[in-house]
Chain length 259, copies 2
């Protein structure tokens, strides 16, 4: 995106988009207080703050730093009156091959953060990421894992479902039903392109790829989800290179025809 | 690889490697009869023929063509006295978003092929591929799916386990144990690089990535697997660009230190 967060808020208003999920780097660049004020004045719903997480680390000192940063993320989410704080859990620590260990750290990290997030009434949304990110972004890679974590950790934690990450999963329908209305805190849309030329930055616009979005949407709605549909298209060479107003117009059109 | 199949056979002999799993395009280029003779003279074990599969199609005519081609693959595997025919199941047909439908076609395709492979005593090895290939290469993406297929289809079908495709799977240990000695027909090695720069052609040499190969090997051995360890490193810009003799020497060394 070529817009800063303030311009994005204005863009949403111009295109009749009722909610937004800011990223923290954009938030920091634009300033928390002024963004919070702008959002309130605009009457825009903050569907989530992206993102906390990144729990697995290699040392005790690093651990405390991660927890502190996650608490700040909770504070920011509260300041924005966000519906949830989205957690990208983190992958393997530098130099590590211990995937079970990383997954334990994620569980411990969320458990620790919950002690801070629950009194603040800020729900945490675990976002399972596609298995191709298991090493470097998130070692929680399926809805089943996220559901298991929710079972274990209790109140205050749910799931952000992104079709890009979970569309391939043969247990998806079952695990969405298992998650149910209470746990599904966000629903993210984009599409999987064939071919995909970059692991991170080649996502597609809804309708341009192979994901049966209406099918997954039907499962999400059957589970009782009645929240926003969030569009997140990391696309360096295509959508990010276009004028943002054009992108929002296409999104609006595709929401009607491809979702 | 810069070698043709005959040169690869000689390379294996030179480096004290006791088995090989040819790809069919290489086999066709070198000639089935002369390769079969060469392999017999060399005393090389054929651990598998790569590959049959690619079942999901968009029309009845295409279906018959796929089945016919898979039967030829069985014939070739028999001619080479291969231990199994590896199946890369195929993804979505051109223009389709019907993933459950593709998975049904895979089941039907293997069931049909089994009628031909069983009398020929040629085991079929389903290779679950990483979820990032669900659209264009294989819609069977987990060991659990492969085990379910084996449960359904009965004798004559097993699984090829490739660490690259399954290392991220939180159910891997359980599903390897479930597969057991009877079903595990092949064990493929390479490594997952961080960062990975290409979805297909940027695999790593064992030890250069983040997969805990000794751990997965321990699960495979505990399941009773006593077959070959096959190294398959699709690496256009690194290992494929080096002299093949150098690559084989590194493989030998890494088999001792990183597996």
């Amino acid at each position: 995106m070529k817009w800063d967060l303030h311009q994005a808020i204005e863009g949403c208003l111009r295109h009749g988009i009722g909610g937004i999920a800011p990223w923290r780097d954009q938030l920091e660049a634009a300033g928390l207080d002024s963004v919070a004020r702008h959002l309130r004045d605009a009457g825009l719903r903050v569907t989530g703050l992206c993102r906390g997480g990144m729990f697995p680390v290699g040392s005790k000192a690093a651990w405390q730093k991660v927890i502190d940063d996650n608490r700040r993320a909770v504070d920011e989410a509260v300041a924005l009156q966000a519906d949830c704080l989205v957690l990208v859990t983190g992958g393997l620590p530098e130099g590590s091959r211990d995937l079970p260990g990383a997954r334990s750290q994620v569980r411990d990290g969320i458990a620790t953060l919950l002690e801070y997030a629950r009194p603040a009434a800020m729900p945490l949304a675990i976002e399972p990421l596609h298995p191709m990110y298991a090493a470097d972004r998130a070692c929680i890679n399926t809805m089943a894992q996220a559901n298991d974590l929710c079972d274990e950790l209790g109140d205050g934690v749910g799931i952000a479902v992104d079709v890009y990450h979970v569309w391939w999963d043969p247990t998806l329908e079952r695990e969405i039903a298992r998650a149910g209305r209470e746990r599904i805190l966000a629903f993210h849309l984009c599409d999987w392109l064939v071919p995909t030329t970059h692991l991170l930055l080649d996502r597609g616009m809804m309708g341009d790829g192979v994901i049966d979005i209406p099918l997954i949407r039907s499962w999400i709605e059957r589970a009782g989800y009645a929240g926003f549909y969030e569009v997140e298209i990391m696309s360096r060479d295509n959508w990010w290179a276009r004028p943002p107003d054009e992108v929002l117009a296409v999104i609006k059109e595709r929401m009607a025809t491809a979702v």
